[in-house]
Each structure stands twice: as structure tokens, then as C-alpha cells.
Symmetry: C2
Subunit: 380 residues, 2 copies
């Protein structure tokens, strides 16, 4: 259905999806078209059910009518391969989750494709509308994905090397499928549906067992020359520090990831199984806990400060699954950012913290499909 749109129609969809609801006149200006041309294109898209009229804005003169994407003109499935069982969601064009299922995780791409295909009818059961307008499947995974969003170049977690997962799923299910790295998927979902809608340049730092990061630059996801942009976890933060599983030493990952924090705690004899536990110990004055959180927070803050210095983003979004950022750890991170950023720019880059639930990855995955529907793969 998306392929049936003319290039002007696609442009219009793109503008609305990045700028939100707009009047016909505003869009005409943004696209450099005449009001006459806009009028026609808008009507076509309304007739196709892609756009619909929303609020009326009153000012001087005839009020303008904002057009927005019809949230139910397309539906998407998102699957996260980061947990077992793998969460699976059905979302509309606004990123709203409509249905939720889970499927067993596997390392065999064929098994995954089959599991997805078999789970689809159940996921879509109560939603005949979505069944008909299902426009794409997105998959989030830990690893590197190439720029076609079709091949997984490498994944340690899944033990993959050049697996054309999207193609396999596409063949089994018959539905347009795209895969993406976990952090990059979250960045896309924040850009489409979240707090970054109007920000052209921002970076997402996702804090969990590992540390992920993704950049949006000039309104586009930036994946780098080998798909490795955002590999902040393996920035050297303590030269000559502890060996990392990547082969080098002193990576941020060895200091500030939840996994690292917990391991160091255990090594120091703390009986803690979660960040909250350690935070609690620290608040009661446990020197080891304080030291650990301080070290982890300073390292993460320094890495983020360096990121700000290098790329000058308009926002840093830190997402975390575990614990909270109100304790010592969060305080130290913020402090470290402040002290390591050019004083001239200190406080200029908003740092937003977002506690995310178990749906993030699946929602991110769905947003990859949505992005391909709205913006297209090559962003031309």
C-alpha cells in the first residue's frame, strides 16, 4: 500500500510524521508547493485513509484545519529477541500497544521466523482491522545490523554472523520485515513516538546489563560506516583498567553496566542482587557500595560528557530498566557530566532520564517497521 503512494504523497506523510499535525497551508510552505497542489495531495491521502482532519485552529481569518496521520491506517508488529520468552506486540501508527503476546526465543533464525508466523494469527485475533492493515514486522536484537535493516552482521548474544533474518521472516510470513539493534530501535521509537519527536540531534544511552547507545543526527538514525556508531560501551574510560570481554581494557562496560556493578559488588562481598540494593547499602553509609556507585557513575558521566563534546546533541536520553536515577548513582552521573563538559555548554544539553518497562524493546522493534512505512528505507 505504501508503494502505491506518489512521491509527493510520501513527502507529505514524512513531514507530518516528523513535525506532527499541520494545516494544508503550513505543509505547502514546508514542501515548497503551492496551496493548489497541496489541496489535491491532501484529499488523495484523506481518501486513502492515511490522513484525517483533527483540530481546528482559530486565529485571524479562516481557521486552519490540522491534518494528522490516521493512527489506524497501518499496524505493526514488534518483537524483542532480548528476552526469553520473546515479547511480541501489535501497535498502531501512534505507537500505542494494542495487543501483546510472547513466543519462545531461539537461536535458529528459521525457528524464530516460524514462531513469529505461527504467533501472528493469535496476536491479530481480536483485531480484524489490524490484520487487514498489517504493514510491517520489526525485530530488535542485540548485535550489529547492516544499513538495509535486513541482515544481522554479528550478534554475540545470539551467536550469529551474517544472518539475513529479515529476509527469512519476510519469506515465511509474507510481511515486510526489518530488524534493528536494540538501542537504535529505542532511539527510533523515541523519535517517532516519544520525547524526541521534535529534536533533530539526540543520543539515547540505554543502561541495562550492557550499555547501548544510538545517535540521531539531522533527524536520521546514524549507524556509522560499519554499523558501529554508538558503541559507547567500549570507549576506554579507565586506561589500563580491568579486561573487558571485548579484548581490550578499561571499557565503560566493565565499570558502569548493571552487570559490572553487580559483579564488582559481589567481588567486594556485598550481598546485593540489584541496583536498588546497592543504592540502599550506600545510603546507609556502606563505604564499598558508595565507592562502587561513585566509580560507575563518574565513568558513565565522563563518557556522556565526551559524547556531548564530540557531537553536541540537542538531548541525551538515558533509559534504564533497573533501579532509579534518584539515588547516588544518578547524582554522580549528572555531576560527572557537568564537570566534564565545556563550562560554556554546561547545562545546555538536556539530560532526560526515562525508566522503561519490559515493552521498550518490542515497542522499539515495532517503531522500526513504522519508520520504514512512514519514512521509507533509504530516506530519499
Amino acid at each position: 500500500m505504501n508503494a502505491l503512494l506518489t512521491s509527493s504523497q510520501r513527502q507529505l506523510v514524512r513531514v507530518i510524521s516528523t513535525s506532527g499535525p499541520l494545516s494544508r497551508t503550513e505543509m505547502a510552505q514546508m514542501l515548497g508547493l503551492s496551496k493548489a497542489a497541496m489541496s489535491g495531495i491532501a484529499r488523495e491521502l484523506i481518501d486513502l485513509g492515511v490522513l484525517h482532519e483533527t483540530e481546528t485552529v482559530y486565529g485571524q481569518g479562516r481557521p486552519s484545519v490540522r491534518l494528522d496521520l490516521h493512527p489506524e491506517c497501518a499496524f505493526f508488529v514488534g518483537i524483542s529477541l532480548l528476552e526469553d520468552p520473546a515479547p511480541m506486540i501489535l501497535s498502531d501508527l501512534n505507537g500505542r500497544i494494542i495487543a501483546r503476546r510472547a513466543m519462545p526465543l531461539s537461536r535458529d533464525p528459521n525457528v524464530i521466523a516460524d514462531a513469529i508466523t505461527e504467533s501472528l494469527p493469535d496476536l491479530l485475533k481480536a483485531h480484524p482491522d489490524a490484520k487487514e492493515k498489517l504493514s510491517g514486522i520489526g525485530v530488535a536484537l542485540s548485535g550489529f545490523v547492516d544499513e538495509t535493516q535486513s541482515n544481522c552482521v554479528q550478534s554475540t548474544l545470539l551467536n550469529w554472523q551474517d544472518v539475513p533474518l529479515a529476509r527469512i521472516i519476510r519469506e515465511r510470513s509474507g510481511i515486510d520485515t526489518f530488524i534493528e539493534n536494540d538501542a537504535k530501535a529505542v532511539a527510533v521509537s523515541e523519535k517517532l513516538f516519544g520525547s524526541a519527536r521534535e529534536i533533530q540531534n539526540f543520543s539515547v544511552v540505554s543502561l541495562g546489563d550492557g550499555i547501548g547507545c544510538a545517535h540521531f543526527i539531522d533527524g536520521k538514525l546514524y549507524r556509522g560506516n560499519h554499523g558501529g556508531a554508538g558503541e559507547i560501551a567500549h570507549c576506554t574510560i579507565e586506561p589500563g583498567g580491568a579486561p573487558c570481554r571485548c579484548g581490550k581494557r578499561g571499557c565503560l562496560d566493565t565499570v558502569s553496566s548493571m552487570k559490572a556493578i553487580k559483579e564488582v559488588s559481589r567481588a567486594e562481598g556485598l550481598e546485593c542482587t540489584s541496583l536498588s540494593d546497592i543504592e540502599h547499602e550506600a545510603s546507609t553509609g556502606n563505604a564499598a557500595a558508595i565507592r562502587i556507585l561513585h566509580r560507575a557513575g563518574s565513568a558513565l558521566g565522563l563518557a556522556i560528557a565526551n559524547l556531548i563534546q564530540m557531537n553536541d546533541p540537542g538531548m541525551i536520553l538515558i533509559t534504564h530498566v533497573e533501579g532509579s536515577f534518584d539515588g547516588l548513582f544518578g547524582t554522580v552521573v549528572n555531576q560527572a557530566i557537568e564537570t566534564n563538559v565545556l563550562p560554556r555548554y554546561a547545562g545546555q544539553t538536556p539530560i532526560r532520564i526515562k525508566r522503561v518497562d519490559g515493552d521498550v524493546w518490542a515497542r522499539g522493534a515495532a517503531s522500526i517497521a513504522a519508520h520504514n512505512f512512514l519514512i521509507g528505507p533509504n530516506s530519499n
Copy 2:
């Protein structure tokens, strides 16, 4: 003249300027146009003197004729405000320097504008062709420039704050003028004329008294949200290290800039006035010299490695005015990059070293004008 081009014509110019000479058929494919449309557009541009036919490529079937920009269809003036006297060059569309002058440097934008305007006739004297087709003036300076490439937001060297230099020069001279930060100007000139023509993502690190850096991302100069992208010089590289003039501590600038290296050498009692001197001392076994170069090289290498980790560029271009990269310093830099980059990616990012002469900044400045002529200011 540029404003007279239709949007298709501009697109074509843009494609050629980024991809080099192409046949009509190739361009038709790249722009998604029919051969018929291309034929017409190409003829128009040839008639206008913007394009010309170059080599003929023989294959199966009728040979294709590559079209390229006519190097003499536009000329540009570039001025560097980094030295006194300020170098001033005249270049063609290939970046070839045709004439060279110098003018006295001033901190008063009006005086600069007058000096440029007065120097122009002399610069253009022997080149009536260039006089007629002069299409823009570019100015490179040390400091922050806004995204319109018209205002200098801040310059420590020139002691400026929000100076609309481009507008002033434009008014005096009557010629389209754009200004740019020094490192960013060099990056643009490398993209247009240098070794980065076909690379979409790369970073330039310019090593001189200070350390500058600029990123090209997805084929575009990336300036960041506040124009501060590439401020690698003030990444914290030695936490808690020596105080920097920026107000914080341990910045790369305090360790690896030529100024810092020389200052530390002097403080350590070495009688050295240039990098070559220190390199020479090191090669004769002077422990202090070795230590200084090692520290500076490791720091710069680490910063570049972090840059590679974060942005995964397709190339790093290190430009340096002074000394050479064949000695200890260069070796240590390369080593530090290797050891601090994910082993998986080690050696994957080409590091090119370029010794630049006194023309770099003025040539970079001219390329800013050329870029605005070829690609346009907003890159739509």
C-alpha cells in the same frame, strides 16, 4: 547565477559535485529520472557553461560520455583569519589555487570587510574570467559559527561575540559571503576537493597550536545543536589533570596540542621550539622528551579511538602543520588508537595523515563558498 537554476538542474549539479563525473544515464538512475528528462537538463547545463563533457567510457554498446562540472564556471575567494597577514586565495571550482595575496589582519569586522573589498581587484587583476564569474567569498576563523554560516557566535582569538561578519562583507563587497570555523572549513574542502570526496562519514582532526575537529555525517557537515560538534579538544582525557583555559581540567588540549607540548617541554627544561626539536631529542634518548611525546600521543590516540567508537567514521584525517608523523609522536598516536578501539574494528577505520601548508585555511575558506554554490546553504 546559481539562483537561476531549476531544482532539477541544482540536483544534478549536486550529484556530480558529490559523486564526480557521471554519464547522463547514470545520473538519470541516481536521480530517479528518465533518460529523456536527463537529456534535456544536461543540455541546458552544458549550454549554461556549468557542465562539460569529459572522458568517453567504452564498454559494450554505445560508449558513455561523462559529464563534469566545468572548473571555470565559477570562482571563489577564500580568506583565513588565523594568521597575520591573512592569506587570501582565488580558486576555481576544482579547488585549484589561481592567485594568492595577503591582507592585514584586524579584529574589527568593518576593517576586515574593507580590507577584503580593497584587495579583491588586485587578486582578480590577471584573471578577467574569474572577475566576471566570482561566485562567493569564504572566510575561515577560529571560533563558533552558526548554521547560517553568517554569524560568528563566539571567537576567543578575535574576541568576538555574535558578529555578523558574512553580512558585513556581503554588504561591502556585493558578493555572496559565508564564514566557517577553521576545522569545519578544512573538512568541507577535503570533502569537495580532497581525499574524502567519496566518503560519506569522516572526521578531520586538525593538529596545530590548538586541536580542531569536524565531522561529516551522511555526506553533510554536522555542526551539532549549538555549533559545538567536534569540540574534541575539550574532551576530558586525564580526569583531574591540569587546568585548561576553558575552565575545566584534563582536556585533550592541555596535553596534545602543539602549544601544550611546547609548554610542557619548556617547563621540563627542554630547549625546544618546535615539535621536530622535541622529536629529535627523543630520538637521542632524552627521557623527558620521550615522556612528553608519549603522553601527548597516547592522549590524542585515546581521544581519536573514542571518536571512532562513538561515531564509527569511514575515515579519520589528521592534518598537521608542524613536524611530521613519522616520529615517536605519530607512532604512539597510531598505537593508542589501535589499543583503544574494539578489536573487532581495529584497523577498519583508515587513519590518514596529511601535512598541510599555509594555504589550508584559505583553501578551506574558499571551499565554503564553493560548497554554498554547489550544494546550497540548506542542502534541501
